[in-house]
């Protein structure tokens, strides 16, 4: 036996929203999400720059030149530029 009324059209007016969380702008939740995104990017940039520095050092050692003369790939240079700690 099916619920006969399930598909019947009904007029449902919008509910009263007083007292619910939806009246506020969700700054806290969105801010936390954005903080995680920024924090994750910071971690990736830090370790990426660390890896890039190592790679450039290794190439410089292999070529017998100083680190400043070793050329980095575009993404290695980009990560080192973006990281304030490297």
């Amino acid at each position: 036996m099916k619920l006969a009324s399930s598909n019947e059209p009904m007029d449902i007016s919008s509910p009263e929203l007083d007292g619910f969380e939806i009246k506020r702008r969700p700054f806290l939740g969105f801010g936390l999400l954005m903080s995680s995104v920024i924090g994750t990017l910071a971690v990736l940039i830090y370790f990426g720059a660390w890896a890039s520095t190592d790679r450039i050092e290794n190439r410089a050692l292999a070529a017998g030149v100083t680190e400043s003369h070793a050329e980095g790939e575009w993404w290695e240079d980009g990560l080192i530029f973006a990281c304030p700690l490297h």
Partner: protein, 460 residues
């Protein structure tokens, strides 16, 4: 004796429960869908060596297919959730089954690496979202109350599926080769999905039944028709405007990074500390088995106590527990870690359907859950690459362990900032005004029969 049994039933709240309800069929189907869908994904590790041997591709380039699949699944999840709400979980999962078949067959015939990326990374990735996202909200719609119990039983399959399929795939790879193994699993998986979807119903109303845990005083919920579609859009708008919606995506992301680092890194970490490959793999198996307990219990406790508290304990335990690995050097240390850490890890992600119900009532949760799985999927993808990346740079896994703890503890801190989970954040989802209202005495009596309109207080 009978009186004692009745006393226990009442004390434990068991008098409200019944095995003879179609909701348990839906839970069983959802468990099999999760098992078939997720297991191939979790078993990707066994695919790497055969592909290296067959084509000479590097493990890194093969691993990129897994990363691509994880990201595609994550990005498709909100859409899959929306499609589940809009067209029903059954149709959405049927589309996922077709893509599952195409993805598995194409993967089995792969000759070039780009084919692996398209077949496994994209086609199979989308199928994962279509299969795994809508099924959880559909199960939720079958439970007017006691969703924690239904969710817990369903979530057990997350652990059992991969454990089973990894063994099956390993045997098949050794006997018939990787290509035929994928074909066999693809055909068997598709056939299984096709058969069980015949018995799947999106809502109790569609099946002509009442939801599990329905009291005789409960009016039926609006679950179909034009009003359903427009009300759903309106209510989803309310959901977007709550802090909890955004924070839950954030929390799922942080928790998944935290445990993905460990799940991916524990075997190489164990081997680096002198464990044999089989012993190290046993640590991962132990984690899978022990976590079954909390996968089952966490949603039930979330419903009975407070989802926020249970989630906090799980995240905090997951974060603090990984520090055991910093001093783990022997086999015993690793197995102690596996048992201790698996308990909070098992409860980390399973309370989300319950907390959605507590915050958003009976509003369809497909889109909301899809967004949460977007966070989870991206977290799993990031957590999957971090251990290898950190090891390549530092030569140890210490920083990976610290990062895992940091992400989990950040998740725990974010949970503290959630609203109280006993408080509904948006208005009640509308009910049909045609439902019968009974007297107070009968109002809280569970409807023991599947069928609407049956005597509300009658036994089975």
């Amino acid at each position: 004796m009978r009186n004692a049994a009745l006393w226990f039933d009442k004390k434990l709240g068991l008098e409200e429960h019944s095995i003879a309800h179609y909701a348990w069929v839906i839970v069983g189907i959802a468990g099999v869908v999760q098992m078939v869908g997720a297991a191939i994904r979790m078993a990707f590790g066994v695919l790497i060596d055969p592909l290296v041997a067959a084509f000479g591709w590097t493990p890194g380039s093969i691993g990129l297919a897994y990363a691509l699949m994880s990201i595609v699944t994550a990005l498709s999840s909100p859409l899959a959730g929306y499609l589940g709400n809009r067209f029903g979980a059954r149709k959405t999962m049927a589309a996922g089954t077709v893509l599952f078949f195409i993805g598995m067959m194409w993967t089995s015939q792969t000759k070039e690496i780009w084919e692996l990326y398209v077949a496994y990374g994209i086609v199979f990735g989308v199928s994962q979202a279509l299969l795994l996202v809508p099924v959880v909200p559909a199960v939720a719609s079958w439970f007017r109350r006691h969703l924690g119990l239904g969710t817990g039983i369903m979530m057990v399959s997350w652990s059992l599926g991969p454990a089973l399929v990894v063994q099956v795939l390993a045997v098949l790879f050794n006997t018939v080769g990787w290509s035929q193994a994928f074909m066999i699993v693809g055909i068997a998986g598709t056939a299984t999905l096709a058969v069980i979807l015949l018995f799947f119903r999106n809502t109790p109303e569609e099946a002509g039944k009442v939801a599990y845990g329905t009291y005789s005083s409960d009016k039926p919920l609006v679950t179909s028709g034009n009003i359903f579609v427009s009300t759903q859009q309106e209510f989803q708008g309310y959901v977007y405007k709550t802090n909890a919606f955004w924070n839950l995506i954030n929390i799922h992301f942080l928790g998944c990074v935290g445990h993905a680092v460990i799940l991916v890194g524990i075997i190489p970490l164990g081997i680096s500390k002198g464990l044999g490959p089989l012993t190290a793999a046993g640590v991962l198996t132990t984690i899978s088995i022990v976590s079954v307990i909390t996968r089952l219990i966490a949603p039930i406790l979330s419903e009975r106590l407070s989802a926020k508290t249970v989630m906090f304990i799980a995240f905090f335990g997951q974060g603090v527990g990984v520090f055991l690995l910093l001093t783990a050097n022997s086999t015993l240390d690793f197995y102690i870690f596996a048992v201790v850490w698996a308990i909070p890890y098992g409860g980390e992600g399973t309370a989300f359907p319950v907390v959605n119900r507590q915050y958003y009532g009976h509003s369809p949760m497909g889109t909301t859950y899809g967004w949460q799985l977007l966070g989870a999927g991206l977290g799993m993808a990031l957590g999957g690459v971090l251990p290898g990346m950190v090891f390549d740079i530092t030569g140890t896994y210490t920083w990976a362990i610290i990062l895992s703890a940091a992400f989990s503890l950040a998740g725990a801190a974010s949970i503290v900032l959630l609203d109280k989970s006993k408080r509904q954040l948006i208005p009640d989802w509308p009910v049909m005004e045609t439902g019968a209202v009974s007297t107070d005495a009968a109002a809280r009596s569970p409807v023991r029969s599947n069928q609407p309109g049956s005597n509300p207080v009658s036994g089975d």
